[in-house]
């Protein structure tokens, strides 16, 4: 019995070893420039992408089409979140670090500096398109129509008390905020603070509503910390429910509770338009067109960043950029639009495409 077992484990260890040499062998045979020792030593023949979970569906779609329609391997796309992705991206050069990172916000100056500290000086910025963040409810109830100010009053931890100070948010029903709103309990399901969607929502919707109070808007310059505390804090009672990162779960919960509203990306509204409807914010319906032309207030740009120095080292990067910026991918009727991406207008798309294909690097000033 024991002998058999020992044999077994030796065998499996051997198998593992064969497996690993197989993988290694592949790398060197597939790369045409295998003679270049720097490439084969720690080289890769497959593009590596990390970053935002919001850009992930689009990035993977392009990666799949790229892998299928060219002779390059399908790029690997990891979902790490925008911040985590940029951290990995900027941590160094070489095969162990990703070639590209997706971000649902623009790269920060501090991140550019971090990159430069680690020897990454030339970064190409590619704009993917736009994403709207919607507030939606079940089709079983009426469509909501609110302003950013009302949204802020429903969600903030502290709200203005009417004479220059703050009080704890005591709005329990929508009609407490505005009598013309329905007389139902405020129940909003949203993502947790770790999510990029939450960050963007806070920045665009909460701050937008916050700014409608002049004295809070004035505070932004005078006392930035207090301004942030006032505008960025969500209420912690049962009127706002953190529903986790899974947007499908929020959609399911909305179907189960017609009084609840949920916060998620436009892609999920687009895919579930038969069961949930977007809330009109400041008079603008969250539709493809309204987000695309910038009139819908809660929308942001999506990006990805590429290490220019890796072009030519890891095969296929330039071809991947060509595919991503092509009309059939990120154009007006491209396949990414099918997946819920809001593409750039043709003029912007063309300009962006030209600068990406010319490999222009990002400069943050």
């Amino acid at each position: 019995m024991l002998k058999k077992l020992l044999l077994c484990s030796v065998l499996s260890a051997g198998l593992a070893a064969c497996g690993s040499s197989d993988g290694g062998g592949d790398v060197s045979t597939d790369v045409p420039s295998a003679t270049d020792t720097a490439v084969t030593a720690n080289g890769r023949d497959q593009i590596k992408i990390v970053g935002s979970s919001t850009v992930y569906p689009f990035s993977t779609t392009v990666a799949e089409n790229f892998g299928r329609s060219t002779s390059f391997k399908t790029p690997i796309v990891e979902s790490t979140g925008s911040g985590g992705g940029l951290k990995l991206f900027c941590s160094g050069v070489g095969a162990n670090h990703p070639d590209m990172t997706n971000a649902s916000r623009r790269i920060k100056a501090s991140e550019v500096k971090r990159c430069a500290d680690n020897g990454i000086n030339d970064i190409i910025e590619v704009k993917v398109g736009y994403d709207g963040i919607v507030l939606a409810n079940s089709r079983k109830s009426d469509q909501f129509d609110i302003s950013l100010r009302e949204l802020y009053l429903a969600l903030a931890k502290d709200i203005p008390n009417g004479n220059g100070g703050l009080k704890q948010n005591d709005n329990d029903r929508w009609s407490d905020i505005n009598p013309s709103l329905p007389d139902t309990k405020i129940e909003i399901l949203g993502p947790p603070p770790t999510s990029g969607t939450r960050d963007a929502f806070v920045e665009l919707a909460m701050e937008g509503g916050c700014q409608t109070f002049d004295w809070i808007a004035d505070m932004e310059k005078a006392d930035k910390d207090r301004y942030k505390a006032v505008c960025h804090s969500f209420r912690e009672d049962d009127n706002f429910i953190e529903a986790g990162e899974n947007d499908n779960l929020i959609v399911n919960k909305l179907n189960a509770n017609p009084n609840a509203l949920g916060i998620f990306g436009f892609g999920f509204l687009d895919q579930n338009a038969d069961s949930v409807q977007g809330t009109v914010i400041d008079g603008i319906v969250p539709t493809f067109e309204n987000i695309s032309d910038g009139s819908y207030p809660v929308s942001r740009s999506l990006f990805f960043y590429v290490k220019k120095d890796n072009i030519g080292v890891v095969p296929g990067i330039e071809e991947f950029l060509t595919e991503f910026t092509s009309e059939r991918a990120s154009g007006q009727d491209g396949y990414l639009a099918e997946k819920g991406l809001i593409p750039m207008k043709p003029a912007e798309h063309a300009a962006r495409k030209a600068s990406v294909l010319a490999l222009e690097t990002v400069s943050l000033n």
Partner: protein, 426 residues
């Protein structure tokens, strides 16, 4: 017990009632757990069963040379990358001649999966002799068509502007169905493909192979290490402050949340040893760290249950300590140790959290060929699909859960079988 004692003493009646009541509590507890489990299993089953079938559309294809290979070279790559859209469209237009305008043609083409053209390309590249012939080919329908044919969306309930399938699309589907060109077939792609953004093309193969490689590494590290540690601690080590400390630590490690092992793996294997990210090699090592304490603890308790008489008899007959241990004690304990290992491995198979930290949460289309190829794992694949907006992934998620459950049940059954078959009683 004489009957009168029971009936006469009120104390006794009370005790009996308590006894009965306790039994009922137990039964209710079991009934509740079973009903939870049944509820979960049936929910997963009914949601996922549909994924094992896939809607296919028959298209009569003319493999004309001028369209596929105008140069006549028959080069595999260019055959693969030729534009098959017009060929597929011509096939569809034989049944639906009305769709001639650009917009209509695009909508008609969207009834097919966007993987259909790639599948066709791969087929022609494999058998270039097809060029010049014509054939009826079954290609995958798009996920929306699939959901409609399976009755998961009811167009009558939803106004047209909210549907992804418009009235015209549905009319076309019905025309195709009447012509016998739409059929549900067994979804082989689910078992032979890697991940995809299109639900109808997505499969679990790359994730399953990734899981297999990770478990292989995990087993080859954790099993020998765990068994040797347990044997040494139980049979050789003298009881001292140090062994006490080690014992306490092992017990603590068994209770550490698995994500912590992921962080450890990130810090040590990836950042310090610079091992390749997102690979089953690192995944297996992290999982090995996680299962090691479980294996050690299980093995030690099995070794402890081997009767002292066995050791005494062997030693008495002149066997050395090592002979005693490896000829007598370890073989007797082996079935139990194996059971413990398999249960540990089953836990490792279902683990996602530590893999998050080392980059195995990734979109992997190609099937990994070795432990250093980038891979993902079954539970991670489930997690990724559950988070996808496309509706078609709902049933895929449940189907993948079913596959994972089958593997877990098989491993547990194997553990029980080993125990029953090889176990010795003292």
């Amino acid at each position: 017990m004489p009957d009168y004692l029971l009936t006469t003493s009120p104390q006794m009646a009370k005790r009996h009632k308590r006894h009965k009541r306790f039994q009922w509590y137990g039964r209710i507890a079991i009934a509740i757990s079973i009903s939870f489990m049944l509820f979960m299993f049936t929910a997963i089953f009914f949601r996922g069963i549909g994924a094992f079938q896939k809607t296919m559309v028959a298209v009569d294809i003319q493999f004309t040379e001028s369209q596929i290979d105008p140069s006549g070279v028959r080069d595999a790559t260019s055959l693969k990358q030729a534009n098959y859209k017009p060929i597929l469209l011509q096939g569809l237009q034989q049944v639906i001649p009305g769709a001639t305008e650009r917009r209509d043609r695009n909508n008609l083409y969207k009834l097919l999966s966007n993987g259909a053209a790639f599948d066709l390309g791969a087929r022609v590249a494999n058998t270039p002799d097809l060029i010049g012939t014509s054939e009826r080919v079954w290609v995958a329908a798009s996920s929306e068509v699939d959901l409609y044919v399976k009755g998961k969306i009811d167009p009558r309930e939803i106004p047209e502007e909210l549907r992804r399938l418009k009235d015209q699309d549905i009319a076309w589907i019905e025309t195709l169905r009447d012509a016998g060109q739409i059929k549900k077939k067994f979804n082989t792609a689910f078992f032979t493909n890697g991940d995809s953004r299109s639900p109808e093309m997505a499969g679990i193969l790359s994730a399953a192979i990734g899981s297999f490689f990770s478990l292989l590494i995990c087993f080859s590290i954790a099993f020998p290490l765990g068994i040797l540690t347990a044997v040494y601690l139980e049979e050789y080590a003298k009881k001292s402050k140090l062994t006490d400390l080690i014992e306490v630590n092992i017990n603590n490690l068994a209770a550490v949340p698995s994500i912590v092992f992921g962080l450890l793996g990130l810090a040590i294997f990836l950042n310090f040893f610079n091992l390749p990210r997102s690979t089953p090699l690192v995944g297996g090592m992290v999982l090995a760290l996680m299962t090691l304490p479980t294996i050690i603890i299980a093995s030690r308790s099995i070794l402890r249950s081997v009767p002292q008489a066995t050791r005494d008899a062997a030693l008495g007959l002149g066997a050395s300590k090592t002979q005693t241990t490896f000829h007598h004690v370890v073989p007797l304990a082996m079935p139990g140790m194996l059971t413990g290992t398999i249960l540990g491995m089953a836990r490792a198979l279902g683990e996602t959290a530590p893999l998050l930290m080392i980059g195995m949460v990734a979109f992997i289309v190609d099937v990994p060929k070795g432990v250093t190829d980038v891979a993902t794992a079954l539970p991670v694949q489930i997690f990724l699909w559950a988070d996808s907006p496309e509706k078609g992934f709902v049933e895929l998620t449940s189907a993948a859960i079913m596959v994972l459950l089958v593997f877990l049940i098989l491993m547990n059954v194997f553990a029980v079988y080993l125990r029953k078959k090889l176990e010795r009683r003292w």
